[in-house]
Structures are given as C-alpha cells and as structure tokens.
Symmetry: C2
Subunit: 343 residues, 2 copies
C-alpha cells in the first residue's frame, strides 16, 4: 500500500519494471525508410509466403514475440501474462497468435494506440506483482488494413494526399520486474475525444487533440515540461497531425519543442507513395521497440515519452456518417543508471 | 511489495477492492426470462428510439454506466479509469460511449469474456493503487451483432437449433478501494485455446474447453474445489456447451457439481426462439451485475466465481474457413462480513 501509484490522472510504476527486450519485424516498404537499421528483421515479402494478408500478419506478430523472448533469453513458459491487440475486426491476429502460446492473454483495442496501451497494462501488472514477466505485442499490415477499412488494394483506388500508409510489421516488448536498464516509470492513459471529424483520410487531425490532451495532463500531473524528455515520440499522427499537435500545445502554453518526433512521419520519411506518413498499431510499436529501446540501451537517450495515438472508427460507423473519436496513451521510459544487466 | 499478488497463474487482489455498485439494462426479450427481476432497467424497444441498432447499443451502454454511478452516488468526474469493450468491429460502441465521459479509457476485447476481463483489469488497477474508482462496462445487441457476425435480420435466415441468441443490453460495475461488501478477491486470466471448431453456430462447444482450462487452473492455483463457491457462473456457453464443460471437468477429476449455472442457458430459460441460450458481452455482464451482485448484497450468496467465455472469431476468419479460438476469464467474489456500507 505504501507506494503512491496514482499521480493525479497519471500512473506511477513504483517498482520501476523494465522493458528487458523487444522484437521488431517489418516489411519491405518500412525497410526503405530511415529507421530500418533499428528493426530486428526485415521480411522481403509482405505476404510472408502466406495466401492471405491476414495470415501473413500473424506471422509478423509471432516472429516479433519469438524474437523478443529470444533477446530476453526466455521460453514461452516463462511468461506470466501476454497482452496485445491489432487493427483487424475482433483483433483476430492477436487471438490466433495468442493461441500459439501458453500464457494467459488479455486482448486490447485502442487502434494505433494499442502499442502504449499494452505497455501500460503489462507494466502495471508487473509493477503491482500480478506477473513477473509480461509480453505486450501489436501488429498491423497494409493489405489487411486497407481491405478492411478502405478498399481492397486490387481496386487500385487513388489515394488521397492526406492519407496515411499502414505499416506492415509487429513489435513485441518483454516487461519484467526488478533491475532492468530501460525502466517504465509513469504513464498517462488517454481520454476518448470526439471532435466531430468525419473524413477517414484525415486521421492525423482527428488524433492530434487526443495527443494534446494526454500530453497536457501528463506534464501537469507530474510537474514536468517537455524539456524533461530527450525524445517525445508520438504516433501515428503523420506530418499534418503533428503540425496541429504543435499548434495545440503552443496554445495551451506548453510548446513541445525540438524533442518531438512522430513515428508516422518518421518511419516513411522520403519513401514515395506513403502519403503523410505511416499508421497502424505497428507504426509506434516498431519505432518504440526498435529505435527508442535500442538507443536507450546504448545510452544515446536517457528519457523518452511515447504517446501512441488511435483513431476509433469502424467501416460501419464511417459509412453511417459518424465522426472519428480518438485516444492517445503516454508512457515514460527512463534509463536506470545503476541497473544490472538482465541476461 | 509485501503482498503476494501472483498465485501460480492466478491473481490475488490483496487489498480486496469491491464492486460497490452495478448498473444493468436489457431489452424486451431478456425481460421474458427468469432473471428479469434483477435488472435495473428493462427497455421495451430494443431500438431505444434510435435509427440504427448500433446507436441503440450505445444508449444501453451509457444508461448502464449512469445507473451504476447513480447507485454508487458518484459523478462521472469521480471515476479515475474506465475500461470496457463490446462485440462490434473496433469496439465502436465503447469508443463512442467513452467519449461521453471524462475518465481515461482502456479498450478491451475478449468477445463475450470481456465482462470478466474488464472486471479483472479494473480490480487490478484499483487494488494496486493506480485508481481509487474504476468502472468496467460491456454491451451487446442482438441486431447489431447478427448483421455483423451472421446475416442482417431482415433476411430472416432460419436459425440453427444450436445457435445462441445475442443478449441486448449492457452491464456496468463500479470498483472502488476499501471496505465494500462484495470484494473482488482473486482472478484467473484465460489462455487462448484453439481446438479446431469451425462452425460459427457451435460457439458453446468451442468455448467449453477454454472455460475448463481456466477453471482447472483456478482451483489448482488457489487450492480450492468447486464446493468452495456457492455459485459458479459461466457464460455464455449455452446448454450444449455447459454439458461439455461438465464432462471435461469430470474427466479432469474436478466435477463442477450443483453450484454451476450458465448465464447463457439461464437468461433465456423458457423463452421461445432463443436456441440453446443467450450470448454476447452483455449476457454474463447483466447476470453478474444483476443477479450475482444483488444476491451477494442481500447475503443470499457469499462466494461466487464468474467465468465469462469468449469465442474469438471474425466474419472474415470464418469465411476464410478458419477455426474459432476461445478464451475464458474467471473472477472470484466474496462477501466481506464486517464491511461498512459505502453509500
């Protein structure tokens, strides 16, 4: 009872659970971008030898888990809890993948914010002592997402200039008790905001206010300013949504400053045909599990705030002319200077 | 750190958070069944005056939350965390409903097991101290579920004798720290099992092995037998799935005994046209929030184990000829003899 775990509307992980390993797998398009060196595996064929993109997506997810467990020198039997989600209806990628592992499983859905939602739930469960080792995993796939949310890619519909491009890949994180180097220190769970945006090609503008709300609450709850962090990683706002976020934070008196990067805008920087940037559960997941985690392990970053954003629409609600509610979940990571190696 | 919160693969809520209030709302079909006296509100028109069943479902969910908050004498501003989910693609019922409240929101998906998944997450967050007051909510609606998972009801497709009938309604629970009468004491999170069942009209048989696995682990972890509980409530297995569950538990040497009821078989007992019983996120939720909670408050039950079950399919995976993985999450509730009243 002693530890103060609620700080206003934010969470403090009193025992400082750590991300002890990650696994990241992406497709060929993602390998063309500037983050490619940080991914564990690049698969040349986005179909991964499978007959459907849905089955291919499961292989990405399973690979990410297996790589993360391997990097942590753990067997599947060592995992007390698995949490995860994806974009497909009824999160079937996660359900079919979880069936391959013996760990209890909590299914999550926060659209592209699921990456940090999962890390929050995993870190909370480990911090409180319900699990010693938890795995959080998320995935997305361009082809399975396009045919579910927009049009089958075979129709070759002209993409809008403001469209985002779903990242094909998966990211897994192993969270464990005790002395790891990359500690999960605090989190701010998002509130769902619905500002009435109705264009499914305008996800960044729909999500930016949710990101601003979560960031603002995070800084207020913890008495911090954006300068506290070496990196503030949002995702997947894209370039348009990022501009709106900066404007919203400036108006609220908390300018984000130079430490901000958006995983959506970043992952496909300079890659033709990717619109205003990447999206999908995997976008923030592979950026967090790849660049952020590895730069923290290498002491190139010491404090990072990751704010994954999700647009909470379905094809049906869009067809029924409804707006797009959005949410963003923030997680703070901090390098522990005196931590012992875990493997 | 002192409290032991992990017991094998099960969770112990060391501080004994309590369900301090519930809210249950159902449609006219559910009011014909034997549990009708336990629901807070019966809505005569399943469309609730809305133009689409999706919008009607949101009204059920919002009513359930408002009733639960009212029963707990709380305002929406008092809630530190809301968790929830539903059956619709991208859990849009929950997303649009969460946008009406100021609390941070975690979206969950466990199909019809979401009711206990939500209670586990809410109880864990409160027990560990991340939130003082959390709300867990789930909903389902016959018409929105039928058109998404099977056929639009306007087609009047002949239902199979083994089909279940989706419950129209919603259930919300308020979980709070400290001395409540109905304590959430332990939980066993389900593992996803995929035994190769492919018929979407056979959900009970697909889910029964998952329920058996969770129950078996629960009893083994906690050193209990089924006799420990006055009531073991599964759901929504229906009558066929319940028979299979009893057979599986008998074979494993842990016969379930007379204390077992299935919310799916129970809620529509004697109601014509409902097949082998009810299903949907609301099925276990309104039975738990209605009958179980109120009987515990009245000292008619002192220990209950609720095991909500979920079939993790999507229309797409079914059309692609794939099997139906399943999961079941168990939560133990216990009346606290010396608890002070909370309102």
């Amino acid at each position: 009872m002693g530890e103060q775990r609620r700080i206003g509307s934010s969470l403090r992980f009193a025992s400082r659970p750590a991300i002890v390993a990650t696994g990241t797998v992406v497709g060929p398009m993602e390998a063309k971008g500037p983050l490619t060196q940080w991914f564990d595996t690049v698969v040349d064929d986005a179909m991964y030898g499978e007959r459907t993109p849905e089955k291919a997506e499961r292989r990405f997810m399973q690979d990410a888990i297996d790589i993360a467990l391997g990097n942590a020198s753990l067997q599947p039997e060592n995992v007390h809890l698995m949490v995860g989600g994806d974009l497909l209806n009824q999160i079937v990628t996660s359900a079919f993948t979880a069936a391959k592992y013996p760990a209890p499983f909590l299914g999550l859905y926060g659209a592209c914010s699921t990456c940090t939602e999962g890390l929050i739930v995993a870190a909370a469960m480990v911090d409180a002592g319900y699990a010693d080792i938890a795995v959080s995993v998320t995935s997305s796939h361009y082809q399975s997402a396009e045919r579910q949310f927009r049009y089958p890619i075979e129709l070759n519909i002209q993409r809008k200039a403001t469209s985002q491009y779903t990242v094909t890949g998966a990211g897994a994180m192993v969270v464990a008790r005790g002395a790891g180097k990359v500690a999960v220190t605090e989190a701010t769970i998002g509130r769902v905001l619905d500002l009435g945006i109705k264009d499914p090609n305008q996800m960044g503008p729909a999500m930016a206010p949710a990101a601003a709300d979560t960031l603002f609450r995070h800084f207020a709850d913890l008495g911090r300013t954006p300068e506290y962090y070496d990196l503030i990683l949002t995702g997947d706002l894209g370039s348009v949504g990022s501009s709106i976020l900066h404007e919203l934070m400036r108006k609220r008196g908390v300018p984000l400053g130079d430490a901000h990067r958006d995983s959506g805008a970043w992952i496909f920087q300079g890659v033709p045909g990717t619109g205003v940037g990447g999206s999908g559960c995997a976008c923030a997941a592979v950026t967090l599990g790849g660049y952020v985690f590895k730069q923290m392990m290498a002491n190139e970053l010491s404090r990072a705030l990751v704010v994954a954003t999700g647009a909470l629409l379905s094809s049906l609600t869009w067809q029924q002319g409804e707006s797009v509610p959005a949410v963003a979940h923030a997680v703070a990571l901090e390098v522990q200077p005196q931590a012992a190696a875990t493997s």
